[in-house]
Structure formats: C-alpha cells, structure tokens
C-alpha cells in the first residue's frame, strides 16, 4: 500500500482563519486524522482538519507543493512550520521541522 500525503489545516479560535500547519503521510484518512492530531498538537486547536493533497487544485502556480505528486516519497513529509525543532517546540512538540 502506498502512503498518501495529507495537508493539515487548523485554527486556534472560532472565527480565526484556517491556516496550513503542516503535512504528513498516512495509509488512509483515519490514520491521517490521528497522526495530524498527535503531531501538530503544539496548540490547543479549536478546529483541525486534513485534506488529501491530491484533492487540492492549484489555482495560479504549477510549481508549488500542491501541484506536485501527492504520493508520499521516502520517509514522509515535513512540517510547514519551518525550522522549529523538537527542542524548540515545547513539551508537546514532536515533529522535527525543515526540509
């Protein structure tokens, strides 16, 4: 079975804009749901959702991450939160950043 790339979106408070907080690889949507909640748990999110990358339609670019292959390569994705590392993300930070 191939793993699928899911993008993770979340908002801290009701009414906040939904922000892209990272991405991950999982075998199916149910595992992706758990992985998202357990990986990107540095905030007390009001709402989090995941979207298969293959379902995102690029609008103005053909070279952005959402226009690339949606099947996981190698050992999985990386957080979009840049260079934050496990050590800098506090008690519950678990995802190494950067790519």
């Amino acid at each position: 079975m191939e793993e699928i790339v899911f993008d993770v979106f979340a908002r801290k408070n009701r009414g906040d804009p939904l922000s892209h907080v990272g991405y991950l690889s999982a075998l199916d949507a149910e595992l992706a749901r758990v992985y998202a909640w357990k990986t990107y748990d540095e905030e007390n999110w009001f709402e989090m959702c995941i979207v298969p990358r293959s379902q995102i339609i690029p609008v103005n670019r053909t070279d952005g991450p959402f226009a690339k292959a949606s099947v996981a390569e190698g050992s999985g994705g990386r957080s979009s939160s840049g260079s934050r590392t496990k050590a800098t993300r506090g008690r519950r930070g678990k995802r190494g950043g950067g790519s």
Binding site: V34, K38, R95
Partner: protein, 264 residues
Amino acid sequence: MTKTIEGLTAESTEVQAAFRRLLLGLADTKRLLGIRYSDWLLGAPSIEGGIATSSMAQDEWGHARLLYAALKDFGDDPLVLEHEREAAEYASWDPLDRPLPDWAHLIAGVVVVDGALALALEGILEGGYEPLGGRVGKMLGEEEFHQALGAAWFQRLSAGEGEGHQRLQEAVETMLAPTVRCMAPGDDAHERLADRGLILPSSTLRYRLAERLDPLLERVGAQVPTESTLDNDWDARRGRGIGHPEEEAVVRARGDQNRALFVE
C-alpha cells in the same frame, strides 16, 4: 450513597479498599503502558506512527499522574506510590509485565489493554464519583485517538495471512484473557463497588468490551471471553495475577536513575 470523598469515607473499609485497588490498578497500568509505548518511539513502521506513539506515551503518563493524585483522598502519598514501591507492589495488568516485542504487540496493546482501560474509566465516569469526573472525561477524550490509531493499524496488520497477521494473532492471544480478567474480574472487591453503583458490574463491562472489540478481534479469530477464572494465580489484594512487572520497567517508572536530581 453520596458519591463524594466524604460519602466514600462513610462507607465500609472494604468498599474504600476496593475503590483504592481499582484506582491504583488503573494508575499503575497506565504508567506501565506509557513505558511500553515509549519503547517504540523509534523503530515504528513510519515516522508518523512513532510520533503518535510518543504522544500516547505522554497521555498515559499524564493519566497515571492524575490517578495517583486522586489516591491522596484514600490516605496515600502520591510521591510514595510513584517513586518508592517495589515491583511486587505494582498492580498493573499482567500483559504489561514484559516489553512489547514488536509493533504488532504494541497495536494489540493499544486495542486490547488501552481499550479495556478506557472502558474501565467509562465505568467510573458512569458511576458518578465526583472527584474523578472531570479528570476521567479529559482522559477519555484523549483515549478516543488511541483507539482510532489502534483500530486502523489492527485492520491493516490483520489483512491477509502474512507475518503481520500472525504476530497480531499471537499478541492478542497472549493479552486478551488476562486483560479482561483484570478489567472485569467479578471478584468480591469488584462487585462490591458495582453493588454501590460506583462502577459497572463485570458482566456489563465484558459485554461492552465485546461489543466494541469483537468486530476487530474476529479478524484474528479471537473474541472477548464472557467469563474468567480466578484460580490460584489471582492476587485479590492487587486485582491482578500473581507476579509483577520486570524490574527494569519499574526502575524506569520510579525514576531511580535520576532520583538525585529529583524535582517536585
């Protein structure tokens, strides 16, 4: 009875001791489960799986702490419970006495042991013992994700007849009966609490566990046992089988190696 600490204090010493046994068993099991999860932070089949396992280990340790703290109401010193007991005093459930040797055993542990722990907590929540209500509700919210992960991996490993299926089957066979016996022993202490409406009767717990887990367990030819035997290997004082977790895990649970640096 009034389901407060005052109400419980007014109960017989047998009822109080039975409730203490239940809470200590759950606390110790969660502490050991956290250690067993932590063994697979690295070496999981995927990075995401390892991260999720790390998070679940933290959850279990947090739950254990809350339960140890609750035992203060029974005259216990949580510091002693957490850091100064011998392995033979641990009331953790038998299947966690030894490390989980591979990912299949970890998944069986999530589904069977963690699932049964969650159900035991639901029983306490339904019993309505006030001092634990908020704490147990929070724990069960976190447990929802443990069970979702367990179910998804269980389905994946049990698909087909490969090595994953075989290892999972072996793990379930090893864990299921002793776990159910600890969750719902049906012995005097357990039924005493059920009679007082503080927890669910063993028969109800087993029925609910079967309803929840059998659709998964049937994939490896197993089902929740409807009865248990409390033979000579049952330790009624601790609410588990005779024996105890291996010393190395208890050394880690107590934090022996860093006691000189202890901060509380």
